[in-house]
Symmetry: C2
Subunit: 358 residues, 2 copies
């Protein structure tokens, strides 16, 4: 019997609720697929701050590193918003990504037929949208040095950050993107600001160089401002998008909102070796935390990504994805996606319905 | 008789066509309002590269600086895309902004009832959208130093840029934004990435400090990834948005696409003193250049902004805005906005129709 070690990082806000549902889904799937999961639950983010004084305790990182895959709930909350940088919950997330070396963040944005009316886009524009943003996750302006505060020559206070990419960082994310595009519809759009930024010029040069290794993938380039427009004008033109950390942060959120159902969207963050980090793209939603109102499906679908990308358990992943679609077909909706004619359920009951469909 | 000196910078692609229409509009307005315009036409961008070898000749900048206002068409084209950085048309535009000191870029995005069906957003989401992005234009990662190419400690090639803001830069753009919001609906949303970037932390701190001077303006803060989502989820929540150069580049393009009619949108770039720079937000559209297909209305509306913000000729500005609306009411549309039942016209005829309505 195959056995996997999973690190659970429930985190803050609605994190614990949705992770608890996802764990039940993992357990049932395991018993049906003849595999086994062992869990270690560790603190991160605000929860870790309250418990240990730091947003990513060393032990959390070392347990995570030794496991086969990591499931994260959500991080952050008003309570810690005024904290200094090194004591912010978000800093724990950034340290986790860096510590795990998960440089590739895969964020699918798919419009499900069952949920198309939740999109603010016209039906004919939203229908059939199915794209994947491959975001660089451990480099660029998020981590670049020098950074900090100082004074300029006139004595004015300044705040500064460095956007920097090295060829090896661009090459490895480009490779993930080309491979991803190859397994999808064979179209890759690299997004940058090469008409202004040197970091983007190098990015464009290296991505272009790699294209010859992937003759079956059609590579295009787009400036980030134009990409922000094109996602709204005609999102169906995109298959796979690859971009840097900050542009990926913005564009993947924009793309996910096109689907109208960010409570449904999972993500995977992977590296060259070592375990991947799987998490819903939504935040910690402190306003509804603990009220059994959260939509657990993004986390459940993150578990499907974990099985597929992290453990190569494709059958188990498919089982979960199908169960989610079936649950939607039956009309079950949490508050975020509720509309008349549907059955309003809470987080726990949504979980039970998914279990039933599995 | 009041007389103004206007610098015309037609630039590249469709630039000359749309500027020529705008000039006719200026002339007719002048004769009706009892004012006078004198023009100097100067090269910039690709046109200047071909003529003089640089994208912003010194003479263009000095003529522009001595005038009362500057009207720019568009810049860039495939022909110069492979040029080195200092020989790109875009570099000419950046040098122009820096040389003029126009640190505040005002970009309205309004959904006109006549054009609401051009938006890819559902009617009920698009209806009534009326927002203004105030983008910082002469600082941040566009101009920050150090920048360039180099090697990291392992000998890998790197490309790097610096995102940097000084307090005086934040304060002056924040002031423009508060003043703008005060004249609009009194709501200001400052967009940053203060959960990650030091430059954003200083931004948020300074903007917050200024709020006490504007008790009539309601200030909120939003992370840039969330703003990219909220613009799609519910654009009507926004009145005035203030943000840095690169986030403003992305978000203002996103906002303009919400209206479905970027061929209609003007912009104004202003400084503390000296002439402002007025330009349509659309690009040079090299694929339709010289074919009398371009929509001149964004440039015509830029002339209205020039009159209003640059010359305090409010009546003349209003006259032009009304003429544009009347022309749309009559059903005239260029190809970008054409739909059945409307009257398809070229760039020149659209110009003539506006003149008729004036
Ligand atoms: C919480 C924040 C630091 C994070 C990011 O900017 O990467 C989040 O927005 C995300 O996209 O996962
Ligand atoms: C052409 C380019 C340099 C410019 C910018 O990025 O500022 C353009 O996108 C704009 O928004 O005016």
């Amino acid at each position: 019997k195959k056995s996997y070690n999973i690190t659970l990082l429930p985190g803050d806000g609605i994190g614990p609720e949705v992770v608890s549902v996802a764990k039940q889904v993992l357990n049932l799937t395991a018993s049906l697929e003849g595999i086994e999961f062992k869990y270690q639950e560790m603190p991160v983010g605000g929860a870790a701050l309250d418990l240990t004084g730091v947003p990513l305790p060393e032990e959390t990182l070392s347990v995570a590193k030794q496991s086969d895959a990591i499931l994260l709930g959500a991080i952050g909350g008003y309570k810690w918003d005024a904290n200094e940088k090194h004591l912010k919950p978000e800093t724990g997330l950034l340290q986790l990504r860096e510590g795990l070396g998960v440089f590739a963040n895969l964020r699918p944005a798919t419009v499900l037929p069952q949920l198309i009316d939740s999109s603010t886009l016209k039906r004919e524009v939203a229908q059939g949208v199915d794209l994947m943003v491959v975001r660089e996750l451990t480099g660029g302006i998020y981590f670049g040095k020098p950074r900090g505060f100082g004074k300029n020559e006139n004595g004015d206070e300044i705040g500064f950050n460095t956007e920097v990419y090295a060829t090896y960082e661009i090459d490895r994310i480009a490779r993930v993107a080309f491979e991803t595009a190859r397994k999808r519809r064979g179209k890759l759009c690299s997004v940058d600001k090469a008409n202004v930024l040197e970091a983007s010029m190098l990015w464009r040069k290296r991505v272009t160089m790699m294209a010859s290794e992937y003759p079956d993938v059609e590579l295009t380039h787009m400036y980030v401002d134009n990409a922000a427009m094109q996602l709204i004008r005609d999102p169906k033109q995109f298959d796979t998008i690859v971009t840097n950390n900050i542009f990926g942060d913005i564009l993947s959120d924009e793309a996910s909102m096109l689907t109208g159902s960010i409570g449904m969207l999972p993500s995977a963050s992977i590296g060259d070796s070592g375990p991947g980090l799987y998490e819903p793209i939504h935040g910690s939603a402190p306003d509804i935390a603990g009220q059994d109102k959260a939509n657990p499906l993004a986390t459940v679908l993150s578990v499907a990504m974990l099985l597929k990308y992290g453990l190569q358990e494709e059958a188990a992943a498919k089982r979960i994805e199908n169960a989610v679609l079936e649950t939607l077909d039956k009309g079950f909706r949490t508050g975020d996606l509720f509309s008349t004619g549907m059955k309003l359920v809470g987080c726990k009951e949504m979980g039970e319905q998914v279990l039933r469909s599995i």
